[in-house]
Symmetry: C2
Subunit: 406 residues, 2 copies
């Protein structure tokens, strides 16, 4: 008998039939003798609907009140799931963020969990009641409602699991695990039985939408065993493990991709200290997120500076840099909004040289030009023209034989 925290995303509770299905699934776990704590997102589309309401009402809605507005979404879904459970004879009780309470700081719209009091939850569990907790929301020390930002329900679930020292935190979603690549791009993609927290963190932040990076980070920090699995299929799933649990690490675990990028190059700028911050200063002041940054070694006292931003920020970033170009007397300011990033992730590459070379060789063999490169200990990212993205994913997937069982 274990204590299992299960998180159900918006798609899993997207309509009444699905809510009934989730109730049945929770019921089955209970029948197997487990204690279950459930964390639920808003019904799919609901958070967007509420968000749009507030933003249609006024141009810059007050952040504190936006959180009150958005938090209503989870209130509906926890009530409905608790109703469905009770109707099946499973004692259940809904918990809003403030009722747990899940304490956060006061950064409305992107609050961070500071602590979770477990007394009320433990009492419910001891009474045989399934707590159905609103994800995504919390409460400040002053009693104000907060929300944790997109993907916040994953973080809520992991935080609850950590606070309760649960045996496992299941992220129940509409995919049945973490794959070696996006199966829509690469038909030979294979589901991983296990993946390390570090790898998952890279995959998550690289646009593999299975888990929110913050929740993976949180799970790693508090060593919460995390499993990604399907709400709708009764098998499979991927367990996210501590690195040392697997004896032999595969060189490469998975390939992530994202097409939502654009690159900007300012070339022929003086190769002197302070140039990077003069270029990126206005960008970060405008709260535009910069991803990859590459500066080539200069020649003739001049250098080229390239970075990537989200595609939606592309036009604005170009505008902001026009005056900088002039003041730096740079040769050219240019960009490309049709690029994609492909990333190869694996803890195994930490101890094996040559992974990068194999990636570059494989791409070269397919005549795919690499526009930018960035690496970390367990990740190699390359920027390619968007039209080569699928080919790049399949080429690397095949190079490392990821479709074959290990």
């Amino acid at each position: 008998m274990s204590l299992i925290v299960q998180k159900y995303g918006g798609t899993s509770v997207g309509d009444l039939d699905r809510i009934r299905h989730v109730a049945e699934r929770v019921h089955r776990y209970r029948d197997q003798g487990h204690d279950v704590v459930v964390v639920v997102s808003a019904m799919s589309g609901e958070t967007n609907r509420l968000d749009a309401l507030g933003k249609e009402l006024v141009k810059r809605p007050h952040a504190r009140e936006m959180d009150v507005l958005l938090a209503a979404g989870e209130q509906v879904s926890i009530a409905l799931l608790a109703i469905a459970l009770v109707a099946r004879g499973v004692p259940a009780r809904s918990f809003l963020g403030y009722q747990v309470p899940i304490r956060t700081d006061a950064a409305y719209g992107r609050a961070r969990i500071e602590s979770i009091e477990t007394e009320a939850l433990r009492e419910a569990i001891a009474d045989g009641v399934v707590p159905v907790i609103a994800g995504f929301q919390g409460v400040t020390a002053d009693g104000a409602l907060t929300t944790l930002g997109r993907g916040g329900s994953d973080t809520s679930a992991v935080a609850v699991a950590a606070a309760l020292e649960a045996d496992e935190c299941e992220i129940c979603t509409d995919v049945d695990g973490v794959y070696t690549a996006d199966p829509r791009l690469e038909p030979h993609a294979r589901r991983l039985d296990t993946v390390t927290f570090e790898e998952m963190l890279e995959l998550a932040s690289l646009g593999s939408k299975v888990l929110h990076p913050r929740s993976v980070e949180f799970a790693g920090k508090y060593q919460v065993p995390l499993r990604v699995l399907s709400t709708f299929v009764n098998e499979g799933g991927t367990l996210i493990t501590m690195e040392n649990e697997s004896v032999e690490q595969p060189l490469v675990s998975g390939i992530a991709h994202t097409r939502d990028e654009a690159k900007i190059t300012m070339s022929g700028v003086p190769d002197v200290p302070g140039v990077a911050s003069r270029i990126l200063g206005p960008i970060s002041a405008a709260a535009i997120e910069v991803d990859m940054i590459v500066q080539n070694t200069g020649a003739d006292g001049l250098t080229d500076f390239t970075f990537t931003v989200k595609r939606g920020d592309y036009e604005k970033a170009l505008e902001l840099l026009a005056p900088v170009k002039a003041s730096l007397n740079a040769r050219r300011l240019e960009g490309d909004a049709s690029i994609a990033k492909v990333s190869v992730v694996g803890v195994g590459m930490r101890s094996h040289a040559g992974v990068a070379t194999r990636v570059f060789d494989a791409l070269a063999a397919e005549n795919i030009n690499i526009q930018m490169i960035s690496t970390s200990e367990i990740k190699i990212s390359v920027v390619v023209a968007e039209r080569y993205m699928e080919l790049a994913v399949r080429t690397i997937h095949s190079e490392f034989k990821l479709g074959e069982s290990t």
Copy 2:
């Protein structure tokens, strides 16, 4: 400078334009130097939508969780109104029931307000902030959410006004006051400048939908000056007063009607003690509300027993009585679902005999048959065939010259 509590119903906050309009209206009161506290219902249709969701999910949804579900409606509207106010430069803050807090008993779905703590509200007011309070909801001593039942937001507003000792409680709605009769039936209906609490209570409980009876009762008990007025028109309104404020009472203040009724007659039952409870017992056991009850004096040891129920309960009531008819050996069980009730209300009739006679005579002159009669100190109700309802209202309206200014 006064402290005014304003309650806006679902129609008044039914879409974003209307919410902006309400914000403008609150702003105007502030500019006139008043302190304003706002109580808001859910956007029109939202409570019904949530209610239907819960009831479609399972046959008998858990009452506690239904309240969590329903309370989400007001959460959305207070957040939106607070956003609209802040965007206009009016400092505002939303208050959920538990944040005020508005304490209630634990009768989910029809909770009663036990107390309202005013500290947080007074602090906000002192800071120049407009509190925007969720109507219809409260919190138990255990921290569970509750709702007050239909019309609960009116009650919330009156209770808040009483707790804050406000100078006036404005019920802002889509009609501009209380009329001598429904203007859709009687074109000569006139808006009353004042009406007493007692009269309002009778009018409200008789289906004149302007105010919920509980809120009127509450306002009378705590002597909260209550005004019904339009959110959309900047004049008019009806002040609900203590009786002794008007020197001269009109004989009759208004005429209410309701067509949502049905009558059931069991005739030829033994005229012995206990018959009434044998007939009404199964009806009340099925939680069917009985309105008027009439039992004629018997002859030959037999009597006829007639009562009215809501039209929606008619078929079920008839079914329940079939076995009772048999066991009482009654002569007949019959009913009529096409009746209407017309009620004449006025504190003046308390001290003036003859009002009833004038009502009956006027109806007789129009050949309208009166099927049932019931009276209270300040009210005479008659049941007539539904097709005569409009004529009955107009006839009595004209008999008491209600269309003419006093």
